[in-house]
Structure formats: C-alpha cells, structure tokens
C-alpha cells in the first residue's frame, strides 16, 4: 500500500500556515510534533460536551470524562503492549516520569556508594534527576561512552555493570544525534545482574513500534507532545511489581484510599502516582493521537521516515562545508549538522525566513555538544507528515545561505 501522505498532510491544519509568506516546512519535530485534527477535535468535543472532573462525582459528565480518561489509558497500554493498565501512570511528560522514578524508586533503593549508569548521549532530563539523587544519596553516576558516529560503546557499557549498579537509565533514541540504541541488548546485559533498566522513549515513541514486554524494560517513559498529542501529558510505564513496591511520589487527592489527620493510606495502581486533578483533556487527546497513529500504522510511518532520512542525508552530504553530527548505523529521522563558519542560530534565522522551522541550539544535550566540541548544532527532524519536496526546500535554503555568508 502506498503511504497516504496527501491524506496525512490534510489531517494537520497547521501545515496550511504561511510563515513569512512562505509555505511552512516544519522540521522541528524532535522538539515537538504538530497535532492532527482528530486530536484537536477530541479536546473541543470534550470541553463542549463531556467535561467534568474525573474519578469524583456520580453525575453524568464526571462519568463521561472518567470513561474517556480511562479509555485513553487502555489505548496507551495496548500501544506499548503493557500487561495491565495499572502499569500506565499519567504524568506531565518524560521529564516528570524520570523525576518520579528518581524520587520514589531511586530514594528507596539507591544508597551511599551505589551506581547509576546513563550514556554520553542523554538529554538533560535523563542526567539532572540522577545527579540530584546521587548528590542526596552519595551515589555515583557512571557515563557509558560513545564513538564519534554517536554509537554507544557496548563493551565499555558492559564493563560498567557491577554489583553496585542499582539502575541503568538509557535513551532509546537520541534527540541530538538520532542514534537508536541497542536497548534489547542493554536490558539483557543489565538483567543478567538483576539491574533494572529505564528507557527514555521521548524521541523513539513517535518513530517506532514500542513493545515493553518484548523489550522487557522495567520502566519506559515518554511525552505526549512528541507523539502528536497535547503538551502537559506523558506516560510512565513500570512493571507492576516494581510500581507496587515503590513509595508514592506526590501526596494529595486521587492518590489516597483513606485520610485521617493521624495517617493516610494510599490508593492502588495506577492512581497511587497520580495525585491531584490530572491533565484530563490532554490525556484524552493522547488517546486520540494513538487512534490516529494506529489508523496509519507505526510500521508505515517508520518506513516513510527512514526514506526521508536517507534522502536528506544523501542530499546533505553533497553540500560542501556541511558536517553531519550523529552518523550511527541505527538512526531515526534526525539530521543534526553544522556548517563551516556559520553559527547554527544564523542558520535557524535564515531558514525561518524561508518558512523552514528547524532547531538551532544544544538540544538540551550540552554534554553531547561538548563531546563534538561544538557550541550548538542545527537540527532538522522528520515526522509522519514531511515530504521529500520539503527536504528539497531545506537543502536549497542551506545552499543559498552558505552563498550569502560567502
């Protein structure tokens, strides 16, 4: 079946926008994806017809909202093939999910002298929560190195694993480089020593099929907004036994069973970790995004994006003075690059004047920038709605701005 690119593009109203009088070419998907009409409609419909607080009232609207909210949890469960909806915790985003694990699992299980392993290509969100925990507990953060292509050095990673290692927390797909890590192998190696593994899936989830049972990961986290869903919602998947043993994160309404001034008892999963009124509309929007993605098929999307990346890479390599940052064999739809003597911010402004949105900066991965000895990179990142024609616009823009800089 041919990929229904025309239909998909028609489903995203923002793609009709003109930016500086040019058609929008949106290539900043690794920062956040645009939203299909189905997601926008789900929110409008909720607020227009079905909205009230969830898990509270006996009245009709509260029941409707609760049903829609819990249906979204079921959709997430199926989407990542979790065993139970109890394993799906709604949080604010991937960052919130990692902080949750650090502050609950981490505080309960990681002590003085223990070690946590991350990699050299992590986003700040998978560095800083562990640094904070290590500082508090006297634990040690170990960094698994990578090569110049941006691939994890597996023997070095394996050598870091030892009896003091209490957690491995690894990015599934790097937002700065596009590298897709050999997570299955990482998990096997860690599990051989009974070390749990958290996967930061913020970047991977919109580009690939994720099966948490096949991976056998202990935690998997992602944000909704990179999965064509609204901001303010994300998911923590955790194996049920682990989640049950963990202390609660925040206290408040919804996460309790009983409260007296002397003592409170906590709700069961997943509500134990969902204190306060959740992002109701955003969660329901996430459910709508998953329905939409399923209607196209994740495999078809992955194949389309792989084609775009291959084409963009081939075109980019022909530009004199362009250096691609991140050339892993296993790579998702991210083209991070620098141009000789032209700062990424100038590239970003110049491309913007042509209607092209890319990211210029350190991509919340300053250690990666340090590794490549660059202050920043320009990054074009591809999504299900991008086309080769858009890549042509990008490439021609880059060639022209090089000429202008002289």
């Amino acid at each position: 079946m041919t990929y229904p690119i025309e239909k998909i593009r028609a489903d995203f109203p923002i793609l009709n926008e003109k930016i500086r009088n040019k058609p929008l070419v949106y290539l900043d998907n690794a920062a956040s994806c645009q939203k299909p009409q189905a997601v926008i409609d789900s929110i409008v419909k909720l607020y227009s017809h079905d909205y009230a607080n969830v898990h509270r009232g006996v009245h009709t609207l509260s029941v409707r909202s609760t049903d829609l909210f819990e249906a979204a949890r079921e959709k997430v469960k199926t989407f990542i093939n979790a065993q139970s909806e109890k394993e799906i915790i709604f949080v604010r985003g991937a960052t919130d999910a990692i902080n949750l694990v650090a502050q609950t699992y981490g505080k309960a299980n990681i002590h003085d002298g223990d070690e946590i392993i991350i990699t050299a290509m992590e986003h700040h969100s998978n560095i800083v929560p562990w640094q904070m925990l290590c500082e508090e507990k006297g634990a040690i953060l170990k960094i698994a190195p990578m090569n110049l292509q941006g691939e994890l050095l597996m023997p070095e990673f394996e050598a870091l694993l030892n009896s003091k290692t209490k957690l491995v927390s690894v990015v599934h797909m790097s937002n700065a480089l596009g590298t897709i890590n050999p997570v299955k192998k990482i998990i096997e190696l860690a599990h051989a020593l009974n070390i749990p593994v958290l996967l930061d899936g913020a970047q991977a989830i919109p580009h690939t099929t994720v099966d948490v049972q096949a991976l056998d990961c202990d935690f998997y986290v992602f944000s909704g907004h990179k999965l064509y869903a609204p901001t303010g919602v994300g998911v923590l998947y955790g194996k049920q036994a682990l989640l049950e043993a963990m202390p609660p994160y925040q206290g408040g309404g919804d996460m309790i069973r009983t409260v007296t001034f002397e003592k409170s008892t906590y709700a069961g999963l997943p509500h134990k970790f969902e204190a306060g009124t959740p992002s109701i509309a955003e969660v329901i929007g996430l459910g709508a995004a998953i329905d939409y993605l399923n209607s196209i098929g994740m495999e078809a999307i992955a194949a389309h994006e792989a084609e775009l990346l291959a084409y963009a890479t081939e075109q980019a390599l022909q530009i004199h003075g362009l250096k691609i940052i991140g050339e892993a064999k296993e790579k998702g739809g991210i083209l991070s690059f620098t141009l000789h003597k032209i700062h990424p911010h100038d590239i970003g402004t110049m491309l913007d004047s042509l209607g092209i949105a890319i990211r210029a900066g350190h991509h919340c991965a300053m250690p990666v920038m340090d590794f490549y000895k660059v202050p920043a990179t320009a990054r074009a990142s591809f999504a299900m709605y991008n086309t080769k024609a858009e890549i042509d616009v990008l490439i021609s823009g880059i060639k022209n701005l090089i000429e202008m800089f002289g």
Binding site: R20, K341, I342, H343, P344, H345, D346, T349, M350, S353, L354, A360, G361, H362, M366, M369, P375, A376, G397, N400, L401, M404, F405, G406
Partner: protein, 150 residues
Amino acid sequence: MFEDLRDLYQEVIFDHNRNPRNFHVMENYDRMVEGFNPLCGDRLTLFLKLDGDVITDASFQGSGCAISTASVSLMTEIIKGKTQTEADELFQTFHKITTGKSEDLQLEAVGKLAVLAGVREYPARVKCATLAWHTLDAALKNEQQSISTE
C-alpha cells in the same frame, strides 16, 4: 532568496563576523568578564583597559553567531576612548534600538551600531546583539562573576 533578511544581515555584520576587530586576549587588562547565553551557547570574554574613567582599550575572545560576533566586535571599536558614563549611555540607547518600537529609534545616536537595529524584528535574536553590552555593563560595574543573558 533572503530579501526579508537584508535588514538583519547587513554587509557590515558579515564583515565583522568574518573579520572580527579586537579579537585577541589582552595582556595587563584591568577588567575581564565572561558573557554567556545559555540558550544558544554563545560565549565571550571581554577585556578592558581603563585609565581613570576612560576606556582606553577593549578586546574579546569567544564564539557565537554572526549577530553576537558583529555586535561585540563593533562595541569594542566604539567604546575605545569613551568614559564609563558615555559607554553606559550608549548601552541604554543601544538597548532601546534593539528592543524598542521603530518610531522612536535614535539611530544617529549610536553611529555604526545602527546596523544591529534589525534584530528588533527578531525577538529570538535580541539577546545575541545585547550579550556584548550586558557583559560590558558587568565589567564596568566590576562584577567578577560571569554574566548571562538569562
């Protein structure tokens, strides 16, 4: 192709970006301050030589975008021979032309710096142009720690 950008990227800016003036480490400086824009990673070190109230020499090191490089390069040229009060007044006027509304621009008051007025149409780039001046401000106030635009 980039007609819309001519106001922002004027030839003077390309010139200063390609060949930044006063781009060297200063021996025997009186003031040295680092400026950093954490958002984009622009980094510069500003050196000043003072004679009483007068800035007798200025130089810089660092890396940044064309706008920030041109801005600091132009600044080191223009502040030489100025008193601290004059430099501060220039900073205030420069701040207005890079952030203010176009009707009350005092372009003639800032001389060559007027080429940077184009950033006011690009809010995301204003910090690139003003980093140099915030760094100068810190240097004149003799603040030792590095400063950032955040």
